[in-house]
């Protein structure tokens, strides 16, 4: 079959490797994170390799080289499968609150099994040290959850130490800040406790305000956190903390209230009464899921070990010191 031989050509492999490189560069300079051209290049290389396995007895007879190429094929297939099943999302959880299975935003493959509603954990707050120049150091976030036997477990997680529940991995991120906790008493119905997450701190130190809508209230409510001084010092080591002395400014239309912690001020709004309860923190988590990762690691390890084995056999046939 001459067409199969042509498909298996090593010259075609070279050309396809060049095409793949060009596709990667095109995606890189075009600002694309995922490119059909890269997928096409990898698929074409997989076909070329399969054809090579069929028509080249030498490749089949060289065990380590065969293993290396089969592992490469497995990597391509697993990467493709990973794109179909993955999930990547973000969620913000208040200190002392439970994550209830809902993400703020996400991006997922069409075959993602969606078991996130089984996942629950409580954020018990965090500690973050800062080096001079507001350089964020390690994040230590205490979380707890119920295991399969219904017993409570807890752990300290961080940027590089995820909480893994039902295959979902929760990582802390740079995105965290303060939350204003309010009690909302509607004209009819039970009171509701809710929080307004302010923009991330200290990344948005000068924009500690947020606008939101209350049920039954025609216009949005605006609130701002104000405090004096430098919370995290820029010129020396520091730590993320709640301000000792602060006030909360609330605006509705052209009316304004200055709320001080400890004072029980009720804000009368068209649909009910709003009360500031306390200031807390929230943590923004990165959530990922990809069941192919352990298999990818296995395939990649097999590939590189087989390649090393192949070269070892080849190079031990002649001395390294050239005559």
């Amino acid at each position: 079959m001459p067409w199969l031989a042509r498909l298996a050509s090593l010259r075609l492999t070279l050309a396809l490797l060049g095409v793949l490189g060009a596709a990667i560069l095109a995606a890189y300079f075009g600002g694309l994170r995922y490119s059909p051209a890269i997928a096409a290049g990898l698929s074409a290389l997989a076909v070329n390799l399969l054809a090579n396995l069929v028509v080249t007895p030498r490749l089949r007879q060289q065990g380590p080289l065969l293993l290396f190429h089969l592992a490469l094929l497995a990597i391509i297939l697993l990467v493709a499968l990973g794109r179909m099943v993955y999930l990547r999302g973000q969620v913000e959880v208040l200190d002392g609150e439970e994550f209830a299975g809902q993400l703020l935003r996400h991006d997922a493959g069409p075959w993602h099994p969606w078991r996130l509603d089984e996942v629950r954990f409580v954020n018990h707050g965090f500690r973050i040290a800062y080096a001079p120049g507001l350089l964020r150091q390690q994040t230590r976030n205490r979380v707890s959850w119920l295991n399969a036997r219904g017993q409570e477990e807890s752990a300290e997680i961080g940027d590089d130490t995820p909480l893994v529940l039902s295959g979902y991995r929760f990582y802390t991120t740079w995105n965290k800040g303060f939350a204003l906790v309010f009690a909302w008493q509607p004209r009819r119905g039970p009171p509701v406790l809710g929080s307004v997450n302010l923009p991330g701190y200290p990344a948005n130190a000068l924009k500690q305000a947020q606008e939101w809508r209350l049920p039954g209230v025609p216009e949005p409510v605006w609130a701002m956190l104000q405090f004096e001084g430098e919370l995290i010092p820029e010129d020396r080591d520091g730590e993320f903390r709640l301000p000792d002395d602060y006030r909360v400014v609330v605006r509705y239309g052209d009316r304004r209230w200055d709320l001080v912690p400890g004072e029980d001020t009720a804000i009368d709004l068209p649909g009910g009464q709003l009360r500031f309860v306390e200031l807390r923190t929230w943590m923004g988590y990165l959530v990922t899921w990809d069941a192919t990762i352990p298999w990818l690691l296995l395939a990649a390890t097999v590939a590189v070990l087989a390649l090393g084995w192949h070269f070892w056999r080849e190079f031990s046939r002649r001395p390294w010191n050239p005559a």
Partner: protein, 278 residues
């Protein structure tokens, strides 16, 4: 200037400068040896080993002083790479006696890096939060071995290419024929390829833990993969075509340029996670 007054930093720099002097002496002797057709190889090796010992002390002293390895600033990355490249090269110089004059090609490349090292700030650094992992050492260690083997391949390729002139053919006359040098450079590149692959795997494990994804086509990942592809193309080209030693040498130079730009250029022109900027 405040940092320049720090006596501990001054001490560290003095040791580093002594190491650089030893390296420069070794490289200069190697070049003069080739030009005069002499082989002062024991002296060259002794100078390189002395430089390496001083450099090791300087890096270790800094590590102890700052509490973390030399992985953050350009000064630290250049210094640790000069050290690792020297280490791999000294081992090859020691074991591959026949091709020792390649030091005349390799050392000028390292001189450039040393000159660059002298111009960047040696100020104190902090380890970014995602750098507290053993995978940092594994990832960077494999990368350094890859660069070391590629540098040796470049030394051999430099000899092959320089032999196109009568002058250098005469100077490198006693070295093995081009096809034998080319085969040796191919071995070095192939060995480097294994370590580059290991570097990508270790980096992916680290990235999964540090940023929740094993691969995201960030600039450094992209250029590392381009370098990996260039090595794969160079190795495959030897199987698909009858590549001449000169063509093979040019391919190795292309790989080295891509690797050099990836390692020393890309991390400092982007705000990718590799810089620890998140």
């Amino acid at each position: 200037m405040e940092q320049a007054l720090n006596p501990e930093l001054l001490f560290e720099l003095k040791i580093l400068w002594a190491a650089v002097v030893a390296y420069v002496l070794a490289g200069s002797l190697a070049i003069v040896g080739v030009l005069l057709k002499k082989r002062p190889e024991r002296t060259v090796l002794a100078c390189m080993v002395a430089g390496l010992a001083l450099h090791t002390y300087s890096l270790g002293y800094r590590w102890e002083r700052l509490g973390h390895g030399p992985f953050v600033s350009m000064f630290e990355i250049l210094s640790s790479n000069v050290w690792s490249l020297m280490l791999v090269f000294v081992l090859c110089y020691w074991r591959l006696q026949v091709v020792r004059p390649m030091a005349a090609v390799v050392m000028p490349i390292l001189f450039v890096m040393m000159g660059w090292l002298m111009t960047v700030s040696p100020g104190e650094t902090r380890l970014p939060p995602t750098y507290h992992t053993v995978w940092l050492f594994v990832h960077i260690g494999f990368a350094k071995v890859f660069m070391g083997f590629t540098l040796v391949a470049v030394g051999l390729s430099g000899i092959i290419l320089s032999r196109s002139t009568v002058f250098w053919t005469a100077k490198f006359q006693r070295l093995p024929a081009d096809d034998r040098l080319s085969e040796l450079s191919f071995r070095c590149l192939a060995t480097g390829f294994v370590f580059h692959s290991l570097m990508l795997i270790a980096g992916a494990i680290w990235a999964q833990d540090a940023w929740g994804r094993y691969w995201d086509w960030d600039p450094l990942e992209t250029w590392s993969f381009i370098t990996w592809l260039l090595v794969a193309i160079s190795l495959h080209a030897r199987l698909a075509f009858r590549v001449s030693p000169r063509s093979g040498a040019w391919m190795i130079l292309a790989v080295f340029v891509a690797a050099f730009l990836t390692f020393f250029g890309v991390p400092f022109i982007t705000k990718s996670p590799h810089q620890g900027a998140v």
